[in-house]
């Protein structure tokens, strides 16, 4: 079928292959939003399937959907659907794929979820252990005493 020249590039399809083998067919202009993919295409013009080794199919699907639908309204509701683990994995994906808008959206979302939470809660979120000695911790709390008032109960 004859296509308009101006539409030719946007209708060209690419295949992205997630780390678990799931394949996604996306339009070129969507794929180009991922700067990492763009670089891949620039290097090898005729490529049709691009491997995305660091991202699971589940997350790649979400990322592609985001790129298609992103606007102020969508972004505001976007993060509400995902739990904290998914948010972090999505952030890693967005970082690897180099999609700045999504990275920003996710950083803000994670920040919002740790705002005003106890240290114990935040440690669980980032999967870290407290390695401060009691003296070190007491010293920090004293030094920044003014900041420790009024934290929400989790």
């Amino acid at each position: 079928m004859a296509e308009e020249k101006s539409q030719a590039s946007s209708s060209k399809m690419l295949t992205l292959k997630a780390s678990d083998g799931v394949l996604f067919e996306v339009e070129l202009n969507i794929a180009k939003e991922m700067k990492t993919v763009q670089a891949y295409i620039d290097d090898c013009e005729d490529i049709e399937t691009i491997p995305i080794p660091n991202v699971l199919g589940k997350h790649l699907a979400i990322v592609i959907e985001y790129i298609k639908k992103t606007n102020e309204e969508y972004d505001a509701e976007f993060e509400k659907q995902w739990n904290m683990d998914d948010l972090q994995l999505l952030l890693l994906a967005a970082n690897y794929l180099n999609i700045s808008g999504l990275q920003e959206c996710l950083c803000k979302a994670i920040a919002k979820r740790i705002e005003n939470k106890s240290p114990e809660y935040v440690r669980k979120v980032f999967n870290i252990e407290n390695d401060h000695s009691p003296e070190e911790e007491a010293k920090l709390r004293k030094e920044y005493k003014w900041a420790f008032e009024g934290v929400d109960k989790d």
């Binding site: 970082n95 994670i110 919002k112 705002e115 005003n116 870290i128 030094e143």
Partner: protein, 397 residues
């Protein structure tokens, strides 16, 4: 997930996200939140102390606007409440009492004058002194009396005053150096008084009748405001202690404006509250019923100094649809106003039967757009308001 990605790890547990992403997340938080995260573990504490992170953090903080409200009920309950539009909708509570112990200031006696970056100024009514508190370096310092001698809080509340910290002039993290200035009549001449924290001395210069120079940055300080004419002192920054201050006497001819109702009797009492700051004036009009002590907001107008400083010029009115949302009965109202980078912000505080209500209004002079935000309930029923001020954000050192 390999080690090649500079993961933030420790002996037990492995954080999923690399340092760079953790830092980006933290930069979406406001300073009191960020500082708390030092306690998480050593790696995070190091991450937050990293110079490049601090620089980015302070840069964001400098362009953030905070509103500080000092509320007290009695002796030990005095707390500084802080709000920023950058955070989720809540108040931060900063306990000031402990910081003030070394100087024997009592909470119940204090009035909050001004804040800028990490410096907070309080005036004591009993001892008629001013003290500067640096929240981040946890230091407290009494300021020597100005050439006018010790002043009570009622004098301070009357004067236009300004606190300028070094971070306002350049983006280095706070050295704590600040200048505090106010203008007052001495005899019948307006005089500018400037305190410099580096020399710990005051300088005073009589303001001259002159023309306001075009361009350049100025600090505008109120001296007195009458119904038809105001007196302000303007001085160029940054060298406000050596530049010659100028007297401005802008006239207020309200008939020039649009939809103004000066003198128009609606059958009810018309109440006008004028709030001044940085060369702007906000007129809050309310009407109340005869005999009743309750008023309702009717309109808010913004006026600014003309280029030559000779008159007040109408800038804009808050749109009717916004007034419709924010009008509610109140007993008493007061406010504060500031201009920063072309955006004018006002906080209007009203009290009705002991309940406090606060509203944050802003006007963008470039896009000619109003924005507004009711502030969350600060749960301060029955408390007294003892000072309110806008400020730029706290900075890390």
């Amino acid at each position: 997930m390999g080690d090649h990605r500079n993961t933030t790890s420790n002996a037990i547990g492995l954080c999923l996200l690399p340092q760079e992403l953790i830092q980006n997340i933290f930069l979406s938080l406001v300073l009191p939140e960020i500082v708390r995260l030092k306690i998480l573990n050593k790696s995070f504490s190091t991450l937050i102390s990293d110079h490049s992170f601090i620089r980015q953090c302070n840069s964001l903080s400098n362009s953030t606007t905070w509103l500080f409200v000092y509320k007290k009920r009695w002796l030990r309950d005095a707390v500084l409440h802080a709000f920023t539009d950058r955070s989720s909708d809540r108040w931060f509570k900063i306990p000031i009492a402990d910081l003030l112990k070394p100087v024997d200031f009592h909470g119940e006696d204090l009035y909050f004058l001004a804040a800028s970056a990490n410096v907070f100024l309080f005036a004591s009514n009993n001892v008629r002194e001013v003290v500067a508190v640096n929240l981040v370096s946890v230091t407290v310092k009494k300021i020597p009396p100005s050439p006018l001698g010790p002043r009570g809080t009622s004098s301070w509340r009357r004067s236009g005053m300004k606190l300028v910290t070094e971070t306002d002039d350049n983006s280095s993290s706070g050295s704590g150096h600040f200048r505090f200035m106010f203008a007052e009549f001495v005899g019948n001449r307006p005089v500018l008084f400037v305190y410099d924290s580096v020399t710990d001395t005051w300088k005073s210069r009589e303001a001259q009748e002159s023309v306001l120079p075009r361009g350049g940055l100025h600090v505008f300080l109120s001296v007195v405001h009458g119904p038809r004419e105001s007196v302000l002192v303007a001085v160029s920054t940054p060298d406000c202690d050596t530049n010659t201050p100028i007297v401005l006497r802008p006239r207020f001819d309200s008939v020039e404006g649009l939809n103004l109702t000066v003198g128009f009797n609606w059958g009810n009492l018309i109440d006008r509250l004028h709030v001044y700051g940085d060369g702007y004036m906000m007129i809050v009009k309310s009407n109340g019923e005869n005999g009743r002590s309750v008023r309702v907001l009717q309109g808010v107008e913004l006026w600014g100094l003309s280029l030559d400083g000779r008159k007040w010029e109408f800038v804009s009115s808050v749109p009717n649809e916004v007034i419709g949302v924010i009008e509610k009965p109140y007993g008493v109202m007061m406010g504060c106003l500031e201009e920063k980078n072309g955006i004018i912000r006002a906080a209007l505080v009203s009290n009705c039967d002991g309940f406090w209500d606060m509203l944050w209004l802003s006007f963008d002079t470039k896009w000619k757009r109003w924005n507004w935000m009711p502030l969350p309930d600060s749960k301060m029923k029955g408390w007294n308001l003892a000072g309110i001020s806008f400020s730029s954000g706290l900075t890390l050192q």
